[in-house]
Amino acid sequence: MHHHDEHGAVDRRTFLRGAVAAGVAVGAVGVGLGVRRALEPEPWDEAAFPPPGDAHVAVLAASSYDADLAGPVEDALRQIGADVRGASVLLKPNLVEFDPGTSINTDPRIVAAAVLAFRRMGAASVTVGEGPGHRRDTMFVVERSGLGDALRAVEAPFVDLNLDAVEPVPLRSRYTRLGELWLPTSVTRADVVVSMPKMKTHHWAGVTLSLKNCFGCVPSRVYGWPKNVLHYHGVQQSILDVAAAVRPDLAIVDGIVAMEGNGPISGEPVPVGAIVVGDDPVATDVVAASIMGVDPAAIAYLDEAARFLGQADPERIDTRGEDPSRLQASLAPAPGFDGAATG
């Protein structure tokens, strides 16, 4: 039996502990990362990545995109202690492809809601940016997905990260041998980068959440459509290096309607009714994966990211808002990731 403290925190930690423990037996999803670890136990610069501290995550129950989302998102951001006063904020949604029958992308209504929430919290500017990896015609995806209309309604600018000015960023982690990434200045020069993924399964990575979503910050006009060079360096390894270079400050996961099965494109929509907001991308992804019914420890990049990029220890993730166990789903895993399912 789970025990509740007055904020429900113990019960939430128990929820996370259960999800993490289930994955220990699953094990070897990330053989490549294991080899990498054997070659260099800690392939990151210690000065750049001090041991992760306590993380704060807020879980919202939200069953519809048509409800007021700006208010709850603002409340969640305040619950985790986000302070964006005077900051330039870049929202990075997941915008990959358009298919009217499914749920590939972060819903435009939650992106617009986040724009309003950050403005209310005193952000100096809020820009939305994405660099789709499949479609060269970004504006087609922006317009057909409804993001264009949603952003015009809140008068928010969109920047195509595939076309933005770029600058070299030396990598402070070494899971790939890239050494540096050329990243858009809208990302590198933003005071606050907010990763806003769709909650979904992914047939190469296991799950797309706030870390994997950072792939969209890698400009395709430099790295191609898709960013094939990243696949050559290993999808899991590249997620780690890209996320470590982007280092999102905040994460807002759209799990109102998630995707299960053969994501990130060909999966099926499934209502989960959750929005997960956090100040640590690893902690946010751990909580979101657990809600999906995916063992975070069985997702190789997420398990590895917990060693240097953020917090995965349930005892050190302060989870507020809705009790995540009440939103527990059991998403069909992506092909090849059956062992990661906790359900």
Binding site: W225, N228, S266
Partner: protein, 267 residues
């Protein structure tokens, strides 16, 4: 045409063009603008940017984004073009084994977006086109055409990459289908007619994207498809959107409605 003026106004003092207005010059938008405007200054910029090995592209650390094929088509200097062709012939993509997840003909190579990676539909189409326009008809061209045949979607047209991934048939994209059709124009290949008819069906669904619509118009005009006039009419209605578009989309707009296609013709 106002779009022609809009594009010309984006020329930087160094003769090149950036991916968006007021951005520094880069090879790909410069090549597309040179083709659209028959721009000597842009062609000179590309020739000056060419490496000793004949390549033209962007280098980002260890990664080289290859833009040699469109640059060759835009250059004026025959020696620079020959050097570019030499690079294209020598820089084909990595062959990769076929797998159940990603089935394809493992003997084929095509061309990649970046050095030493797998071949994809668009860069393969550009290299096939450049080689054909430059009069090269060797086995590398046959390989590129075979890659496009191998990757063609079920029902015709091209996705950005494969025909099937993890048992899912991938749908064709208008933009990728457009550039592949331009690359293959004039060939007696069943995939050309099939793709053209598919493009004539799918373009209205992607007409929100100016780049997609412009590629559809350019491709259907190039192969003389019966729907070409209708697509061109729809494109012509988007002058205002073209002014706000990125440089490559704007250049394709000008090419599709102007005489830039002559510079992409295999004679």
């Amino acid at each position: 045409m106002p779009a022609t003026d809009d594009l010309a106004a984006r020329r930087n003092p160094d003769g090149g063009y950036g991916p968006v207005p007021r951005a520094g010059s880069e090879p790909e938008p410069t090549a597309l603008a040179a083709l659209a405007l028959d721009d000597d200054a842009a062609a000179s910029w590309l020739e000056a940017a060419q490496g000793d090995d004949g390549s033209v592209g962007m280098r980002a650390g260890a990664v080289f984004r290859d833009v040699t094929a469109p640059a060759v088509l835009a250059m004026r200097d025959p020696a620079a073009q020959r050097a570019g062709v030499g690079w294209i012939l020598a820089s084909r993509a990595r062959a990769e084994p076929s797998t159940d997840a990603l089935p394809h003909d493992p003997a084929l190579r095509g061309w990649a977006w970046t050095s030493d990676t797998f071949g994809w539909a668009e860069p393969t189409a550009w290299s096939v086109l450049a080689l054909r326009v430059m009069g090269h008809d060797g086995p590398e061209v046959d390989d590129g055409i075979a890659v496009l045949r191998d990757r063609a979607c079920v029902g015709g047209g091209w996705n950005y990459g494969n025909r099937i991934v993890l048992d899912e048939e991938l749908p064709p994209f208008v933009q990728t289908t457009g550039i592949a059709l331009i690359a293959l124009h004039g060939l007696d290949e069943p995939m050309v007619a099939t793709a053209a008819d598919r493009l004539a069906t799918i373009w209205p669904h992607e007409a929100d994207g100016l780049l997609s619509l412009a590629l559809a118009a350019a491709a259907l005009r190039t192969i003389g498809h019966r729907s070409a006039a209708e697509v061109a009419r729809r494109l012509g209605e988007r002058q205002a959107a073209a002014a706000d578009a990125d440089t490559i989309a704007l250049a394709w707009f000008v090419i599709a409605l102007g005489d830039g296609l002559e510079r992409l013709a295999v004679t």
